[in-house]
C-alpha cells in the first residue's frame, strides 16, 4: 500500500537531507508544511438511510422543511446528479467505505457478509494521522468487524443491525451499552459531537451513519403532528395499498402509503434538526472552517412511483441520492450546484485525495475534488448499476448502464430488458426496447459489458 510505515533508514535519510537543506538555505518550507498532518482538514461524513434526492427543501420539495441541509448546500456544492451503484443499504454502505462496486467489495446484498480484508477510507486516513470514528448504523451481514484504523466504533445490532428509533441499545467499541438519549438520531448526534469536540493534536474523520430515515419511520414526539394537513406530492400511479401488495410487505410497510409518507417526512425533518445541531456545534467550537462536511443518502426510495415501494430497482427515485459537500477554502464558488454524475464509490477516493493519499487501482470510484475546485470539470460519461437478488424481496438481479441521458437495464430471470430516454421521459414510463436503434443498443450493451468487466470505461 502507498502508506507503508516509514523505516528508520528513511528517517535518517530525511534528517540528513533536512540538515543539509537547512545549512545551505535550500529548505523547501511550503512543501514540508504541506506534509504536516495538522494541515489536513477534519472530515465529517453524514450518511442517512433511504433519503431521496428530491426530499430536501433546496431541491424543491413542496412542504418538507430542511433549513440546515439547505444551509449546508448553500455553503457548499449540491450535486444534482448523485447516484448509488447499488440501491440497497448494505452494498451501498460498503461502496461508500471502500470506493468499490458491490461485485468487488463482496457485500452484494443484505445477506452477504462484509469481508474483513476490505480496506476502508477510514483505515487509510488513520495511516496518515487521522483520528477516526464510526458512529451509527453499520448494518452489514455477518459479525461486527474489528474495523482496522477506527479509533471509536459505536454501532448497534438490534433488529438485524437496522437498530430502532427508540431506546436502541448500542455497542461501543465492542461493549453493550445502553443509549443515553431515547431517540436514536439524538443519541448518535450527541456521540458525534463528543467525538468531534475532543481535544486532540490530529485531524479527525468522523463517519456518522444515521438509522433515519429507514422504516419504520418513527419521528420524535414533538414532530408527530407535523405535515398532518399537507397535500402529499405522490406520483399519479401511487396508490394507498401499494405497501401491501405483490410482496411489498417485506419492505416493512404494512399500512396506508400516506401514513408512512408523512412519517418519512417527519423523520427527515428530525434528521435536518440534528444536522443543524451538529453544524452549530462545529461553529461554536471553531471547527467549521477546517472541517469538510459531506452529507449523503445510502439509496433513494419509491413512494408509489412505478407502483412500487422500497428501493432496489434501477429507476431514478431509487438510485438518486442527496449529495452535498461543504469544504471551506476548497470549493470554488460555494453555494453552487453541480450537474456532473457522481457516485457513492467516489466518496473514498475524494477523501483520500484531500488527505494527500493516492487512491490506487483497487478503488473504482473517482475523486470529485477536481469538480469541487473547478465547476467546469467534466464528469463521467456512464456508470454501472448492479443489484444482486436479495431473497425474499421481489426484485430480480439487475445490471444497468446509466449514461447522461439513457438507462439500459437487464434483468436476471424472465423480466425483459428496458431502455429509457431520461431527457424525454424522466419518469421512465416508456420502455424504448421495441423501437431502439440496433447500433445504439449494441453500444449500450458493450458499455455495460466493459463496466462489469473493468469497473470503468
Amino acid at each position: 500500500m502507498s502508506e507503508k510505515p516509514i523505516s528508520r533508514r528513511d528517517v535518517l535519510k530525511l534528517m540528513a537531507g533536512a540538515s543539509l537543506a537547512g545549512a545551505t538555505g535550500l529548505f523547501p518550507g511550503p512543501l514540508f508544511a504541506a506534509r504536516q498532518k495538522n494541515a489536513l482538514p477534519n472530515i465529517v461524513f453524514i450518511l442517512t438511510d433511504d433519503h431521496r434526492a428530491d426530499h430536501l427543501g433546496c431541491t424543491g420539495h413542496p412542504f418538507l422543511k430542511t433549513p440546515h441541509l439547505d444551509r449546508l448546500a448553500g455553503e457548499g456544492v449540491l450535486f444534482e446528479n448523485a447516484f448509488v451503484t447499488t440501491s440497497l443499504c448494505s452494498p451501498s454502505r460498503a461502496s461508500f467505505l471502500t470506493g468499490q462496486y458491490a461485485h468487488t467489495h463482496g457485500v452484494r446484498n443484505n445477506l452477504t457478509p462484509w469481508q474483513n480484508e476490505n480496506v476502508t477510507f477510514l483505515e487509510r486516513l488513520k495511516r496518515v494521522g487521522y483520528d477516526t470514528g464510526f458512529i451509527g448504523k453499520w448494518h452489514m451481514p455477518g459479525r461486527l468487524p474489528q474495523l482496522r484504523g477506527v479509533d471509536e466504533f459505536v454501532t448497534f445490532t438490534a433488529r438485524g443491525g437496522q437498530g430502532q428509533y427508540w431506546d436502541c441499545p448500542l455497542i461501543v467499541n465492542g461493549k453493550q451499552t445502553p443509549s443515553n438519549k431515547r431517540y436514536i438520531t439524538d443519541e448518535l448526534t450527541d456521540r458525534a459531537m463528543a467525538f468531534a469536540g475532543r481535544d486532540r493534536q490530529n485531524p479527525f474523520c468522523l463517519y456518522l451513519s444515521l438509522k433515519a430515515a429507514h422504516h419504520d419511520w418513527l419521528p420524535p414526539e414533538e414532530l408527530k403532528g407535523l405535515y398532518a394537513d399537507a397535500a402529499l406530492p405522490l406520483a399519479p400511479e401511487a396508490d394507498t395499498w401499494v405497501t401491501m401488495t405483490n410482496g411489498a410487505m417485506f419492505a416493512g410497510t404494512a399500512g396506508p402509503l400516506q401514513y408512512h409518507y408523512r412519517n418519512y417526512c417527519r423523520v427527515l425533518t428530525a434528521v435536518d434538526h440534528y444536522v443543524g445541531r451538529f453544524l452549530d456545534f462545529l461553529d461554536k467550537k471553531g471547527l467549521a472552517d477546517n472541517t469538510i462536511v459531506i452529507y449523503a443518502g445510502d439509496n433513494g426510495y419509491f413512494w408509489g412511483e412505478h407502483r412500487l415501494i422500497d428501493k432496489r430497482w434501477a429507476y431514478e427515485e431509487s438510485i438518486r441520492v442527496p449529495f452535498i459537500v461543504r469544504a471551506p477554502g476548497l470549493i470554488r464558488g460555494p453555494g453552487r450546484r453541480a450537474g456532473q454524475m457522481v457516485l457513492n464509490i467516489d466518496l473514498a477516493p475524494t477523501l483520500l485525495e484531500i488527505a494527500g493519499i493516492k487512491p490506487g487501482p483497487a478503488i473504482e470510484g473517482q475523486s470529485i475534488l477536481p469538480i469541487l475546485k473547478s465547476p467546469g470539470t467534466p464528469g463521467r460519461e456512464a456508470w454501472l448499476y448492479e443489484y444482486f437478488s436479495d431473497f425474499p424481496y421481489n426484485v430480480p438481479g439487475i445490471d444497468a448502464v446509466r449514461t447522461k441521458d439513457r438507462i439500459y437495464i437487464e434483468y436476471q430471470g424472465r423480466c425483459p430488458p428496458e431502455l429509457y430516454d431520461l431527457e424525454a421521459d424522466p419518469r421512465q414510463r416508456k420502455n424504448l426496447m421495441d423501437r431502439v436503434d440496433a447500433r445504439e443498443l449494441t453500444g449500450l450493451r458493450d458499455m455495460l459489458a466493459t463496466l462489469k468487466r473493468e469497473g470503468r470505461l
Binding site: T245, P396, Q412
Partner: protein
C-alpha cells in the same frame, strides 16, 4: 330429501362460500394489477384502493365468512377447514408462481413459507377456532357443557403464532430467522 342428500347439500354450501371468497380474491388480484394509470387514469386511485382492500380482506378475513356460514348450516368441521384454507393456499401458490420470475424453483418454494403466508394461515386457524367455539356455545343444549376449551386454545395458540410471525418486533425477528433458513439452504 334423504339425510345423505341433505348432508351433501350442506357440505356443498360450505364449498360454495369458500369458492366465492376465492373468486373475490382472484378477481381483486387481477383487477388490482391491471395497468390502470394507462388504461383509465381517473379510475386508478379508487380502483386500486378497492381491489387491494378486497384482496387483503378476502385472504385475511375470508374464514370469518366461510366457517360460520358452513358450520351453522351443518357442514362438518373438516369441510369448513378445507374451504377456509382454499383462498390463502391458492393465493400463496399464485405468489410462488409469480416469484419464479425472479427466483429459482427451489427458492420460490421456500418463498412459499414466508412469514406473511404463515401469519395468514395462523390467523385463519384463529378465526376457525373462534367460530367453532361460538358454534359450540350457541348449539349446546340447555344444561349441556359447551366443550369450547379446545377451540379457544386453538384461538390463543394461533394468535400467539400470528404475533411471532408478523408482529414480534414488527415481524423482524421471525423474518430474520426465515432469512437465516434461506442462507442455510441456498
Amino acid at each position: 330429501m334423504t339425510a345423505v342428500a341433505g348432508s351433501k347439500r350442506r357440505q356443498f354450501g360450505c364449498w360454495i362460500a369458500g369458492a366465492a371468497v376465492l373468486l373475490m380474491m382472484a378477481a381483486a388480484k387481477v383487477l388490482y394489477n391491471m395497468p390502470w394509470p394507462e388504461l383509465a387514469p381517473a379510475l386508478h386511485q379508487p380502483a386500486a384502493f378497492i381491489f387491494a382492500l378486497l384482496l387483503n380482506v378476502s385472504i385475511v378475513f375470508g374464514p370469518s365468512v366461510i366457517y360460520p356460514l358452513g358450520r351453522f348450516r351443518g357442514a362438518a368441521p373438516r369441510i369448513c377447514i378445507m374451504a377456509c384454507l382454499l383462498t390463502p393456499v391458492v393465493w400463496n401458490i399464485w405468489e410462488i408462481i409469480r416469484v419464479t420470475a425472479y427466483f429459482s424453483v427451489a427458492e420460490s418454494l421456500y418463498y412459499g413459507l414466508n412469514p406473511l403466508f404463515l401469519g395468514a394461515l395462523a390467523f385463519t386457524a384463529a378465526q376457525m377456532g373462534f367460530w367453532e367455539a361460538v358454534y359450540r356455545v350457541r348449539r349446546k343444549e340447555p344444561g349441556e357443557k359447551a366443550h369450547a376449551a379446545g377451540p379457544i386454545f386453538i384461538v390463543l395458540a394461533s394468535l400467539a403464532l400470528v404475533y411471532v410471525f408478523c408482529f414480534w418486533a414488527m415481524g423482524q425477528h421471525w423474518f430474520y430467522l426465515y432469512q437465516a433458513g434461506y442462507k442455510a439452504l441456498f
